[in-house]
Structures are given as structure tokens and as C-alpha cells.
């Protein structure tokens, strides 16, 4: 194992982990506060990707500055997260917070199926690709390998910004501390006058925006097509379960472990590539089973 190969595997792992973290931290945040496992998270990721790609295609067709495609990645995430997030929380989840977990799972699964069909209706079945943000930043040569700046610089920077920003918001912003209070003890928070319903809405929207942001950031790098949300959903569950549902830093570490594990597997045991996230999850749950039950934002 040469040091150059280790460096290459490290860079690949970090780039992969960045996207996985952004999506899975949204899932873990929603569970930590609302105590709902949101299956529709995968659809929010896919709709975010489709919306960002649509903006990108529109920018190209309108022949306006391609640099505008960067802010549209964030705008697409915000639009999808706020509109769909608030609709799902207000129209559905609010009615089933006190119901059994299995009902919540089924309800969010139904939303996942509906949104999956909606994607087909709106965008069809042919793959979309809008790679302008990937191309504009160009490539960088590291040893024998050429990387895109977008994947090894921009994505990790955004992931770190999400981690730091989320932690800062929850620890120092008043509305963030209110979220922590509700996560810690819903009834006590309600007793001291906190509007729990609004906190739930805010938290769900933040989680939904993060899912959509993951999709919009992924859109320049991949083909966007029906069903793309499923894989990311499963991966996010693996991260959230390994990290401990509701643990933000844990999600970052687990995403990094999975990213590095996957790239190491591609180099030295490619047949294990697909298994790595689940091997890591199994190992973590065997060694530290209490993480799965614990919740901490």
C-alpha cells in the first residue's frame, strides 16, 4: 500500500462521505426531535436533485451566466425543503405524532411512493444531467489521478459548513436551543410555554432542506432518474443507525467511516464495496448496541 494510494483512497472517501453526511444528518435531526423515521427523506433528496437540474437546464437554455447555477443549488434545496417539508409536516405528521411508530413509518412510506410517482409524472423516466457546476470549477491533478474540484473541495466544505452551522445553531441560537429543549423533554418544553408544534415544523423543514441540499449538490455529478432516492435513503438509515439516531457528530464520523471504508474496498477488495456500509453498521451495533437506542441532538 503506497502512500499515494492511501491519499487517493482518502480523498475519494471524503468526497463520498460529504454527500452522505448532508443527507443523513437531516434524517437523524428529524428523528432526534420529532421521533419519526422519515422514509420520505429519500424522495426529498431526489426532488432536490431534479429541481436543481431543472434550474441548471433552464440557465443553460436562457444563456445567462453559468455561475448562477451555484446559488440555484441552494435555492432548489430551499424551495423543495420548505414547500414539501412544511406540507408533509402540517398535513400528515402533525396528525400522527401520538400514533404507533409503525403507522408513522407507513405514512411516510406512502409519501415516498407518492413523490416517487410525482417525479415520473413531472420529469419523465429519461435521465437528467446538469453538470455545469461540476465543470465550471475544473479539475485538479493529484499524483496520477485527476479530481474534480467540485467533489474534493466544494462538497467537503459544504459538509463541514453544515456540521459546524448546525451545531452552532443548536447551541447558540435561541431557536436552536428551543429545538434542543423540545428534543430533551417535549412535555417540559410545552409546560414552560414553548410552541412545540412550531418547533416540530421548523425542525422538519431543516431536515427536509438538508435532504434536498444533498440531492441538489449530487445533481451535477450523477444521472438523475426515477428511483435515485432509494439508495440514498438506505445509506442514510445505515449512517443514522450506526451513529445513533439523533447524533449529529456521530453521523459525520459514521459517514466518513463509510466513505473511507468504501474507497478502501474498491482498491483492495472490490467485491466488498456494496457491503461496506452495512458491515460498518453491523459492527457498530455489535460493539455498541446502546447507540441505536440513544437519542441526543
Amino acid at each position: 500500500m503506497t502512500s499515494q494510494l492511501v491519499l487517493i483512497a482518502l480523498l475519494d472517501g471524503i468526497a463520498y462521505a460529504a454527500l452522505v453526511f448532508i443527507v443523513s444528518v437531516g434524517l437523524t435531526l428529524i428523528f432526534g426531535v420529532l421521533r419519526v423515521l422519515n422514509i420520505a427523506h429519500g424522495s426529498l433528496y431526489a426532488v432536490g436533485a431534479y429541481t436543481a437540474a431543472s434550474f441548471g437546464i433552464w440557465i443553460a437554455a436562457a444563456k445567462i451566466s453559468p455561475w448562477l447555477s451555484y446559488p440555484t443549488l441552494a435555492i432548489a434545496a430551499a424551495i423543495v425543503g420548505i414547500t414539501l417539508g412544511s406540507a408533509i409536516e402540517r398535513l400528515l405528521l402533525q396528525r400522527i405524532y401520538d400514533k404507533e411508530e409503525v403507522l408513522q413509518l407507513l405514512a411516510t412510506f406512502a409519501v415516498f411512493m407518492i413523490l416517487d410517482d410525482a417525479q415520473r409524472l413531472i420529469w419523465g423516466v429519461q435521465p437528467y444531467f446538469a453538470a455545469t457546476p461540476l465543470r465550471l470549477l475544473g479539475n485538479v491533478q493529484i499524483g496520477a489521478v485527476t479530481y474534480t474540484v467540485y467533489q474534493i473541495v466544494l462538497l467537503p466544505v459544504v459538509a463541514v459548513a453544515v456540521l459546524v452551522g448546525l451545531r452552532f445553531y443548536l447551541r447558540y441560537a435561541t431557536s436552536g436551543r428551543v429545538i434542543l429543549a423540545v428534543a430533551e423533554d417535549r412535555e417540559a418544553a410545552r409546560a414552560i410555554g414553548i410552541n412545540v408544534s412550531r418547533v416540530y415544523l421548523t425542525t422538519f423543514i431543516i431536515g427536509a432542506v438538508l435532504a434536498a441540499l444533498g440531492g441538489s449538490l449530487a445533481s451535477p455529478t450523477t444521472s438523475i432518474l426515477p428511483g435515485m432516492g432509494t439508495d440514498m435513503l438506505v445509506l442514510s438509515f445505515a449512517v443514522a443507525a450506526s451513529a445513533g439516531l439523533g447524533r449529529i457528530e456521530g453521523a459525520a464520523i459514521t459517514a466518513l467511516l463509510i466513505g473511507l471504508g468504501r474507497s478502501v474496498a474498491v482498491y483492495w477488495a472490490p467485491e466488498l464495496d456494496v457491503l461496506v456500509p452495512y458491515l460498518i453498521m453491523t459492527l457498530v451495533l455489535l460493539v455498541r448496541p446502546q447507540t441505536f437506542q440513544s437519542r441526543r441532538i
Partner: protein, 430 residues
């Protein structure tokens, strides 16, 4: 004498009334295809192809004077759901013929079911060689291409273009086709060019969204050739990511299924990539592109879908045309009467069909022999995507496993003289 003639006329008249009554009101054809999920990039154009052809036939009276009614089943719902719907169509809707399916995995489970249900099944797009090598069927046929000639012709074309090939890497989807096609390709390559070293065998997950790590590894390994039999969104993603990072300029890419992605990939597919078409299915097929019926079909398909036809579109045509041929042959053999399923099944053996490609003959084992077209990508200002140049068309009978033999074992017996096979070649007219 006069009364005898009248009696005879009445009898003939009654017989013809009886014959007309024997014909069904409609011929029901069930088609399984991907209408959802990643494989819908094949399934939806395949469905459009069937609708286009059947609409045209029905305007002219259908098959043997019987209008055709189509039923579609979504393979994207999963194998079990597809099988349940397949059974329902045959047993409750009384469908006469099934065209199933795209997925090789689905074809493997459909074949024995078709035998059980005694329903004629034309496998319209799947490619696994295992169907007719591991089983014998009366009701199951495949009037289009399959894996072994596709992979062997690719090996021959690669060695023609790069006789000095030393190292190769593979990036195939991790499922039956990805694994089987690599086994066929690598077996033939080892026999015909034993000194080639396989430097990496990568099988990323089916539907993978990111190939960054695989691309990094391939850049570090620097193989002469990178093979991928991926298709659909997976292939598009791999090509775009590899091209963006310069891998396609570093190694020769060999993509035997990329004909179906040419238009979608646009400028992302560079020149110099070896491209295949699962048969000689190509909208600019040099032997067919100027024929009026071919041009009419391409134009009609573009008008209906706003896209050029890709190989599943041609595969669907090949199955439907073969079915019409089989019905017409069976009717002739049946004295002009509407044939039974068994008569159509038996008539399918040996028929030769020409449906926007070179004629395809169905062998006694049920497998169609489709010639194989390969080319190298080139830019033409008339199209905003890559087209094929330096096209070679390989005759199916020389590159297909003989009846009764297993492909992998047969490939091991190839003689190096096959490399000298003379085949027609064509330049793309600029």
C-alpha cells in the same frame, strides 16, 4: 348437377363462415417492460415502439386480419409482481402471446412459467445466454440478439483496433448481466490474446450514483482498455464522470451497449470510444439508413417520442415482426385457418425476419441469430451527439454458440483464425 353445385357452394360458404368465426376478435399480446425505475430508459422506448408498430398494423387489419390488442406489465414493480401479472394476463385476460422481458433475471423465471402455462413467449430484449443453454422450451423463443455473439464480436473488434492490447480493466454493474457478460468477454479474450492482463475487476452496485473511487483507481492503474457493459443511467453517469476527469482520454473505452446512450450523452461521449448496439440496431445503420421503410420507421418514432430509436426499439420490432411471420406461416400450414398456440410455436422455428436490421433466423433451440454491429464514436456536426464510424458488422452464425453447447466452454475452443474473419466495414459519411 346444378343442385350439386348449389349444395357445394352452400357447404363452401358455410365453411368460410365457420373459418371466419374461428378467428378471434382480437389477438392479445402481453408485453413486460420497465415503465419505472432506472431500466425505464429501455422500457419506455420499447413500449413506444410496440404501440407505433401495432397502430400501423391495426390500420391495415392487424395480423392475419385480426386486430392486435396490447397489454403492458411494468417489470419495475419487481419480479414477483411481474410474474403475478404475467399469470393473470394469460389465465384471466386470455392473452395469446407474451413478450417478456427486458431483465435477464426475469427471462430466466419467465421461461419455465411460459412452458407451464403453455403460452407462446418471445423474449424481446433480455440477453443472458443461459436461457436456451440450460433449458429446452417449446413455447419460448428469442427473436433478437444475445450475450455470446455480442461479447465475442466486441472482443474481435477491440483486437482489430488495438492488436497490441496489454492490460484491461472492467467496470460492470453488479448483477447477472454484468457478471455474465464479463465472463463471456474475458473467456474469449484469454483465448484469443492470452498475454492480456486484467488489472481490475470492478462491479459497482447496480444503480450506483457515483463512480469517483472506481475512476480514481483506474487512473492510477492506467489500463490500455476499460470495458463496461453497463447501460442506462449507470452508463451515462460512468461516462460523464470518467470524461470529466480525463479517464476517457487516458484509456480506450469499450462500451458494447452505448448505442442506447448516444443521444442522451450528447457531447459527453468523446470520439474514439468503441461502441456496440446489441445486434445491428442503429438508426444510421449503413446498410439500412437509406431504405424507405427504415427511414419511415425512424421518422415515425422520432415524431412520436422526440428521440432517435435505440436498440430496445429495434428489438421490439424484431419480436413483433417475427410473431407476425410465425402467425402467417402457421396459417398457411393450417390451410388458411387461424392457428393454435402450438402451431404458431412450431412455426416460429426456422423463420427469418427482417425488421429494420439484417434478417434474423430463429434456430431450432429458440435463439435468434442477429448479426453484430460495432463502431467507433465520431463527431458529425449534423448531430449534437456522437455517431459511429469505422463500422464492422459480424455475421451471427460465425460468432454464436452452436446449438447444444455451453457458451463459456465453446468460447474456450475458439481458434485464433477467427481474428482474421473478413467482415464488411463502413465509414460514417460526413
Amino acid at each position: 348437377m346444378k343442385s350439386l353445385l348449389i349444395a357445394a357452394s352452400v357447404c363452401v360458404g358455410m365453411a368460410s363462415v365457420g373459418l371466419a368465426a374461428d378467428k378471434p376478435n382480437e389477438l392479445k399480446i402481453g408485453i413486460t417492460t420497465f415503465m419505472s425505475g432506472p431500466a425505464s430508459v429501455f422500457g419506455v422506448p420499447g413500449k413506444a415502439s410496440a404501440e407505433l408498430i401495432i397502430e400501423e398494423w391495426n390500420r391495415k387489419g392487424g395480423i392475419g386480419g385480426v386486430p392486435v390488442k396490447l397489454f403492458f406489465v411494468d417489470e419495475g414493480a419487481g419480479t414477483q409482481a411481474m410474474l403475478a401479472e404475467y399469470r393473470r394476463l394469460v389465465q384471466e385476460e386470455k392473452v395469446d402471446v407474451m413478450l417478456a422481458s427486458i431483465s435477464s433475471g426475469n427471462c430466466q423465471v419467465v421461461a419455465p412459467l411460459a412452458e407451464d402455462l403453455k403460452v407462446l413467449d418471445y423474449m424481446w430484449d433480455c440477453s443472458t445466454q443461459r436461457i436456451f443453454e440450460e433449458g429446452k422450451y417449446r413455447y419460448v423463443y428469442r427473436p433478437q440478439s444475445y450475450g455470446t455473439p455480442e461479447m465475442l464480436s466486441t472482443v474481435l473488434y477491440v483486437l482489430r483496433k488495438r492488436p497490441d492490447l496489454k492490460t484491461i480493466a472492467v467496470v460492470n454493474q453488479d448483477y447477472a448481466w454484468g457478471r455474465d457478460s464479463w465472463q463471456l468477454f474475458s473467456t474469449a479474450l484469454k483465448v484469443l490474446k492470452p498475454d492480456v492482463t486484467v488489472v481490475a475487476e470492478l462491479f459497482p452496485k447496480f444503480g450506483a450514483a457515483d463512480y469517483s473511487t472506481e475512476i480514481s483507481r483506474l487512473q492510477a492503474l492506467h489500463p490500455d482498455v476499460v470495458l463496461s457493459t453497463a447501460w442506462g443511467g449507470d452508463l451515462d453517469t460512468l461516462v460523464r464522470q470518467a470524461n470529466q476527469r480525463g479517464l476517457m482520454q487516458q484509456s480506450l473505452f469499450v462500451l458494447p451497449l452505448v448505442e442506447s446512450s448516444l443521444e442522451r450523452l450528447g457531447n459527453d461521449l468523446p470520439e474514439g470510444v468503441i461502441a456496440g448496439a446489441r445486434g445491428d440496431n442503429y438508426f444510421l445503420n449503413p446498410e439500412y439508413k437509406d431504405k424507405p421503410d427504415f427511414k419511415a420507421f425512424v421518422d415515425a418514432f422520432r415524431k412520436k417520442t422526440n428521440a432517435y430509436p435505440i436498440y430496445p426499439v429495434f428489438h421490439m420490432a424484431q419480436s413483433l415482426f417475427a410473431l407476425r411471420n410465425a402467425y402467417e406461416k402457421a396459417m398457411v400450414a393450417n390451410g388458411g385457418q387461424w392457428p393454435s398456440r402450438e402451431q404458431v410455436a412450431d412455426a416460429t422455428k426456422g423463420i427469418t425476419t427482417e425488421a429494420y436490421s439484417r434478417p434474423i433466423t430463429i434456430r431450432e433451440d429458440g435463439q435468434g441469430l442477429a448479426d453484430q454491429l460495432l463502431g467507433t464514436t465520431k463527431r458529425d456536426p449534423k448531430y449534437n451527439f456522437a455517431v459511429m464510424d469505422d463500422i464492422a458488422v459480424y455475421p451471427a452464425e460465425k460468432i454464436s454458440t452452436p446449438v447444444g453447447k455451453m457458451s463459456v466452454e465453446w468460447l474456450k475452443t475458439l481458434e485464433p483464425s477467427i481474428l482474421n474473419m473478413q467482415v464488411p466495414t463502413y465509414k460514417h459519411p460526413m
